[in-house]
Structures are given as structure tokens and as C-alpha cells.
Symmetry: C2
Subunit: 214 residues, 2 copies
DNA sequence: AGATAATTTGACCGATTGGTAAACATTACA
DNA sequence: TGTAATGTTTACCAATCGGTCAAATTATCT
């Protein structure tokens, strides 16, 4: 008798671990490129190199795959914000937050698009995560920024909109990659693009937020 | 004999005009919320309040609806950038560009999401528009910004990434509205949100780009 | 009014969707 | 090695997909 996902054994098989990994990798490919509703199990199965019923042996539904993916990716995605340190030097903290987010956009564009697709379509599967853990984390870090502003370490500004603007500018390079490529064309292609973006964003945020000595 | 979309008469009927408008309005609702692949003709038909074959009488395929929508919206969407004036005062031009884009995000969030969905999923239907008219317009305005920087009117910066960052920060409020709402919660709700965002973004961009008198 | 063109609908089509049942194959372990 | 649990596949299902068709209805014009 086939009992999916270790309902009885508690311990996960080697095969289970490998196949689930394989499936989630394929699911990330497909979901991030086409959104949840636009993706089909058959597509994921093809990318994963296994049959559809085989997929459904490990994840009972399409939603289950998506949820497993979201859960796994969400933690990683918020890591840079979590690293934001109240004790650190404000300029350094902001600068390295921007850089880390930009690196994430460069190295994990699929993860970025997975969230973008989800949020863009009303976040039907992750509303609780947004209103709960995410909001909590942002509230906490916003308080840090507010304190910096109050202490005169950075310019007075709305900390929430500051965070939003860092999110949007950095993730833009993953989520709207096609547009960025189309506009920049060949002349600005290649690895230099990342450094150009990083340089500009640091200039923008540091220049816009740092209190300059008179 | 039924001949769709004035193939014979040249002149469009009153009914044609009304119904096509009705359909595109409904299509904007559905496509912007679920993406092209995630949307169904039945959904659009229901929102439009007409039967599916009736829809297909005016637009022969799902793609035709989407294309008509894109074409109609694209022009409006680039209007603010087109208004960017080389002769104007740099600070004013940038400030009002930001404000106009932010107003667009507030007043036409569906249009913003339509493009976001499209670009996010690889822009399969609008690649030519991106590489053609859009790139051309951006190239032109980038040159203006570069000239301002060279003349010392604003800080030296990469004009393309400046434009990207204005796009991303402003459109973020339309495209990621659910996330913004979730994070800000009730305490920052209401009409004040728009003004808060506008104030922050102006501070960020003007502060980050203007050359301050010594 | 009557004729003609324009519009609308219900019934339907083949393809694809997410998912199931059960037979079959493989693995792990005694 | 035998056997029970685990893993895989073929064949299939009802529902939904984009789209067609012919018949019915409505608007337009003389």
C-alpha cells in the first residue's frame, strides 16, 4: 500500500528527500514564470522529469506544491531585513541591506518572481504571512530606523516607505528583468549591470538619507 | 450574415462601441488580477455581463482582447515620461514625474498590474513594444538627464537606473498593494498613505540627486 | 411593414485541466 | 531470499478550457 509522504514511517526516505527536492526545484521554475493559476502540474512534471501521478504521490495537490515552495522560500527571503542591526552604523546598515537585497535579486530571481506573482495577484495563499510575521518584522525594523532619525543619525523620513522603496528598487531587477534588458539593450549588458545598479542605488539612498555635516 | 467588427461597414456601430468598451473594461479587471494565462474568457464574460460567444463575436480570441487592452493602455502609461521636459528645471521635472507616476499608480492600479503581470511572466506579448518604442523613449530621456548631470544641474548618476528606480518605487504601490496594506495595517490606512509616499519619494530622489550649494 | 444586416444565445466540440484507481515495479529489511 | 512497504506508471475521470456553429433575436433602413 502506498502511503505518501511518510505518514506512517515518520522518517523520510532517501528517495522521498531527493524527489521532493527535484519537484520543488521544477515547481519554482514553473510557478515563478507563469504564476500559480497559469501553471499546470504537467508542466512541472515535465521539468522535473517525472510523470504527473508520480508528482502527485509526493504532493497531493498543486496547492500543496505551491505552499511547500512558499514556506521554504519565505524565510530566506526575509533574511537580509532580519540582519538589519539596530546597533550598527546606519549608513553601513542601509548600504549593506541594499546590496544584500540586490544580490538576492541577482542570484535568486525565481524566488523573487514567485513572490511577485503571488502578491500581484492578491496574495491569496500568503495573506496570513504578510499580515503576521512580515508585518511584525517590518514594524520592528521601522522602529530602529525611526530611532536613528530621531537621534539625528539619518534624515527624518517615513521608515515604512523607506523599506518599501528598497524592496521595490532592488526586486525590480529580478521581477522586471525582461523590461530592464529590453531598455538597456546590448550596450549595457553583462555583469556590469549589477554593479551599475548597486552604485546608483547606494548613491540614491545614502545621498538622500544621510545628514551631511554642515 | 454576421460580420464581426465592422469588416464590411467600415463605420462602427453604437452597439459595437459600447460593447467593446464593456468587454475591455471587464478584461482589464480579470487580466490585471490573474494574468493572461490565469484568466478565462468565461470570467471576463461574467464580469462584462454577457455570454461567452457574445464576447467572441467582438474579439475573436482571448489574445485579441489582451492585445487590444495592451495597445490602449500603453500610450497612457508612458505619458508622464513623455512629458519629461529637457528645457524645464531638473528638480521640478523629476519631482513632477514622480508625482505623476504615483498618481497613475493610485488612479489606475489595474493598468499597472496588467503590465506587471505581463513583464513578470516574460512579456510574451509585448516584447516588441519594450524593445522598440519604450526603449527609444527611455534612451531619449536618459540623454536629457545625462545632459543635466554634465551641466552640473544634478548629481552625476546613471540615468537609466534613475528611471528604473522611479518606475519601481511608484508602481510598487499599485502592484504590491496587498503587501503594502498588510504591512502598514490599519494605523497607516486611508488617503494619507498617498501623501506619505509622495513626500518620502520626493525627499529621497531630490535629496539624493540634487547638487547642494556649498 | 418588410427586408436585410447586426447581435445574441444554447448546444456543442476537441483539448487540456487537476486529480484518481489500480496494476505494476522497486526498494528496504527481516 | 521473501515479503511488506515504497515508488511508478498506464489508463482513466469529471470539469473546464478556448472556440465554433446554427438558429434565434434584435436593430436598422427603406
Amino acid at each position: 500500500m502506498a502511503i505518501p509522504r511518510a505518514a506512517k514511517t515518520q522518517r523520510r526516505t532517501r528517495i522521498q528527500e531527493e524527489k521532493e527536492e527535484q519537484i520543488l526545484e521544477a515547481a519554482l521554475d514553473v510557478f515563478s514564470a507563469r504564476g500559480f493559476r497559469g501553471s499546470t502540474i504537467d508542466q512541472i512534471a515535465e521539468v522535473a522529469g517525472m510523470s504527473k501521478p508520480n508528482l502527485l504521490y509526493y504532493f497531493r495537490t498543486k496547492e500543496a506544491m505551491h505552499r511547500a515552495l512558499i514556506d521554504r522560500v519565505l524565510y530566506t527571503w526575509l533574511e537580509p531585513l532580519r540582519a538589519f542591526d539596530a546597533e550598527g552604523n546606519p549608513e553601513n546598515e542601509i548600504r549593506s541591506y541594499i546590496r544584500r537585497k540586490l544580490e538576492l535579486a541577482r542570484d535568486f530571481p525565481r524566488e523573487s518572481r514567485l513572490f511577485a506573482n503571488e502578491v500581484l495577484q492578491g496574495a491569496p495563499h500568503i495573506e496570513d504571512e504578510l499580515k503576521g510575521p512580515l508585518k511584525q518584522l517590518v514594524d520592528e525594523k521601522a522602529e530602529v530606523i525611526r530611532a536613528w532619525a530621531k537621534a539625528g543619525k539619518i534624515a527624518k523620513c517615513d521608515p515604512y516607505h523607506l523599506i518599501f522603496s528598497i524592496w521595490s528598487t532592488t526586486q525590480h531587477y529580478a521581477d522586471f528583468d525582461v523590461q530592464v534588458r529590453a531598455v538597456l539593450g546590448q550596450e549595457h549588458a553583462g555583469a556590469g549591470r549589477f554593479e551599475d545598479a548597486a552604485r546608483f542605488l547606494e548613491q540614491l539612498f545614502i545621498g538622500g538619507l544621510m545628514v551631511r555635516p554642515a
